[in-house]
Symmetry: D2
Subunit: 294 residues, 4 copies
Amino acid sequence: MKVSFIGLGKMGQAMADRIIGGGHDLAVYNRTASKCGDLVGRGAKLMGSVADAARYGDVVITMLENDAAVSAVTLEADGLVKSMPKGAIHLAMGTHSISLVKKLAAAHADAGQVMVSAPVMGRPPVAAAGQLGIIVAGPAAAVEKCQPLFAVMGRRTFDGGLDPVGAAAGKIANNFVLACAIEAMGEGFALAQKCGVPPESFLDILTDGLFASPAYKIYGKLIAEKGYFGEPGFTATTGLKDVLLALAAGEAVAVPLPSANVCRDRLLSAVAHGDGDRDWSVMALEQARSSGLA
Amino acid sequence: MKVSFIGLGKMGQAMADRIIGGGHDLAVYNRTASKCGDLVGRGAKLMGSVADAARYGDVVITMLENDAAVSAVTLEADGLVKSMPKGAIHLAMGTHSISLVKKLAAAHADAGQVMVSAPVMGRPPVAAAGQLGIIVAGPAAAVEKCQPLFAVMGRRTFDGGLDPVGAAAGKIANNFVLACAIEAMGEGFALAQKCGVPPESFLDILTDGLFASPAYKIYGKLIAEKGYFGEPGFTATTGLKDVLLALAAGEAVAVPLPSANVCRDRLLSAVAHGDGDRDWSVMALEQARSSGLA
Amino acid sequence: MKVSFIGLGKMGQAMADRIIGGGHDLAVYNRTASKCGDLVGRGAKLMGSVADAARYGDVVITMLENDAAVSAVTLEADGLVKSMPKGAIHLAMGTHSISLVKKLAAAHADAGQVMVSAPVMGRPPVAAAGQLGIIVAGPAAAVEKCQPLFAVMGRRTFDGGLDPVGAAAGKIANNFVLACAIEAMGEGFALAQKCGVPPESFLDILTDGLFASPAYKIYGKLIAEKGYFGEPGFTATTGLKDVLLALAAGEAVAVPLPSANVCRDRLLSAVAHGDGDRDWSVMALEQARSSGLA
Amino acid sequence: MKVSFIGLGKMGQAMADRIIGGGHDLAVYNRTASKCGDLVGRGAKLMGSVADAARYGDVVITMLENDAAVSAVTLEADGLVKSMPKGAIHLAMGTHSISLVKKLAAAHADAGQVMVSAPVMGRPPVAAAGQLGIIVAGPAAAVEKCQPLFAVMGRRTFDGGLDPVGAAAGKIANNFVLACAIEAMGEGFALAQKCGVPPESFLDILTDGLFASPAYKIYGKLIAEKGYFGEPGFTATTGLKDVLLALAAGEAVAVPLPSANVCRDRLLSAVAHGDGDRDWSVMALEQARSSGLA
């Protein structure tokens, strides 16, 4: 399949590499062209503009960091909507707001193109191993056509429904549930600590049974050991962005999200206290502050 | 060891049975004496009053349903405090409020006795198999003395600190984190559903990775399949009682718990809508109601 | 009318004095009898026990500080229920929880007595001037019989319905709305301040128009001028008690109160930070803390 | 003074009319020119484009409904920034987000112009009477220059500080405090009602004392009498927009706003239930729903 790939950050490079490995004909474009070097060395064609990339692939993948970037690439003059042939597929694999996904899908539909939304779960090493979880949503025929690409990039796919918005929502809601888990642990640890329970013991209680899963093991440990003072895995500022995506999605479809509000407030307090660049488990530090523990 | 056991509900019977099986000398007392039948058949001595039970054991275990029951048994005339010998241990294994545990521990201390708090995690079949998780808190020597009993009743113990309050807090905080997980899922499912994501698919997304643990698998399934309309495992009313225990603990030690507030409000709405006797995953139905989905 | 008055704190003394001034035949009882001195000098009869007071009046007024006190006076051996004649009225004028009011009303009914609940709004000088606002609830005939007493103690009455619980609820809900107003101002002032609006100017904006009332003028000024560092008018601890009364009332009748939750958390944080004895406008200091302003 | 006025809705017309009445030299522009008819009849000059209006006045007033409109007028080609002479003042009198105000102020500063933000409080009849409350923020000299205009349009001004953002924040925070008051009343009325207090009586309790101000009298009456089923004064959708402006302001300056979250959720539920076009006191209906009362 002829595939164009726009957005070659760490995730994008690992994913694009899998596509080459899968025997597909890959064209790449990145604002900073130097990031495409390794891929070109492995056979990818370097495109000089978004428009060139848009014209090349039957499927044009974008893996861009935020709404502004994917909006620019898609909607601006010489962007994807202007340049992709009729019938071509824009496979958007970044995590974007549902209002933007809705807007982009409509713009593509007006231009006779199709948009598939397929945000991924997993970090760069997982992507390099072709083990991403991929939430896929869009018209059935287009999704079908992308399956060979999902097969080389991912461990498995999840069905996000027929509207591209669904895949974005699935990803956003999953992240949001994680934020809530961190917040709940922050509260639980503060309560336990003020009652004399050693933090490592409360971690043990949580993760031995009901919550024996990565979310609680990883973040519970960060909280119990105050790992938020160390190297961040995912910053409070980025976490806040994710929670705001959930709240914005809730606004778009009229779903109140009281737990997301709690997370939002914690993360805003973290930012207010200068901790925006710390790991987002710093939410627990905010809980500790409000409990007179820090 | 000479052990008295007060409170022979389903959990109590299973736990007492393990103690007999462990070769200990067991005396039993229950308000409704008939519930002691099987245990007596297996060798337990039937006591005619709390006071008799109090005088018999080196360790007096209570496994009572709520604060009122354990308070009565412990503090009233002819209760444990009045009747236990100096140096004897009251091993309280029910889930009680931290303010009551504090009060009982003080009353026992004044009478030269010792209180150990050791609430358990697990349901009757788990208790029957001697596989409970037991959170233990109290003075080190007394805890040490109870170890043979924990060994026959439990899979393992968790350290709740030196103040009996800690074990209560550990149990309460663990239950509270579960309530928060259910609430977060309720919100996430409502958001996903209004964006077109099939519920079974969102369940799959959640439990495939970050949340691959019993709490999310069990309750996620109940929510995705509206299992709250079926046979309840744990009712909304009981869940509310647990959340109120967490909030009361937070009040006692000055820890704000915003996520617990959200759960409290959901459960109160469930009660207001006549769903107090449904499974507490009905919190998700309340979220659906507030989202115009039910 | 023959009236007994139990509970002669500052409020009680001022109210009892109005009753003497109204020409009624007053008997007084207080645990610390010395507080009755002035009233006895003005003609009140000093009673030696609750039981004596209970037997004297056609109406027995209690003005006690909290649930524990009124519960003891009413329910204990030789308390009001045991000693008041059939048909006599217990007029409870303190602010008590609705669950206790319900319990006391039932106990009186069982004993052939009547309970009227009539909590007051206003501080001692207002009581001394006979200008209290009085929320009244209870059976119509009993309320009617108490009108001459309300006439001398109060500026006016408010109808709390036929169930004594209603008057308690009206008072509790009014206090709760005040807590919410303070919290909202705290949030508004923090937002305004971080955007460069001088606090005195935001106070001016609020109270010039929509909120030109005592609640906003008094508490807005306390917040704008950080008056919570000065002499407290009403402490955070007492405010927390009031908010907890509202939450308990909500639990009793299944009404979620999300705004009360917010107030509760702020006040708990205030206590956690050692500010429980400051004026409860210190809620705004907690908001400032969570905003990185303090 | 030479003044241009852009945005002649009901508010704009009333305000522009006051400026003519004050003897100023007024030019008007509106996308739908017909709305300028009366003003032209009274001596205003009709401008054919934003650019013409931009070049005419020493002060260019905008009174536009939302961020999108003022952003277009200000930033697009032939907009205010492009066309206003150096030193001219853009006096923005609509209610806009603080992030947009910040952006517009910066754009004007780069072009050697000055922006003053001056959102107003009051409805069209108040504007027609020159009795608006005006919150003013911007560089002192520019604010000084606008004083004659404020004098004819307003009853008084409020000081929003030297950064235009402050005036927007003051207006937004004032509206937000109102939303909180409505929410708190909704909760209070639900609690009172379920305890047997007649709604008109609770309204009386609230507004007789602490809350004897327009906000509580107007909205308390709407709630007590379910006036939200009648003609809306201000819709839930518009109220939601205002609350979201407060939350966005909080995000911009890192101020958590838990009470705003509660209002947001209520209003989203109202929208979810098809009540977005009802008066925003319908928040109380949502509270009633969550309490099993509706």
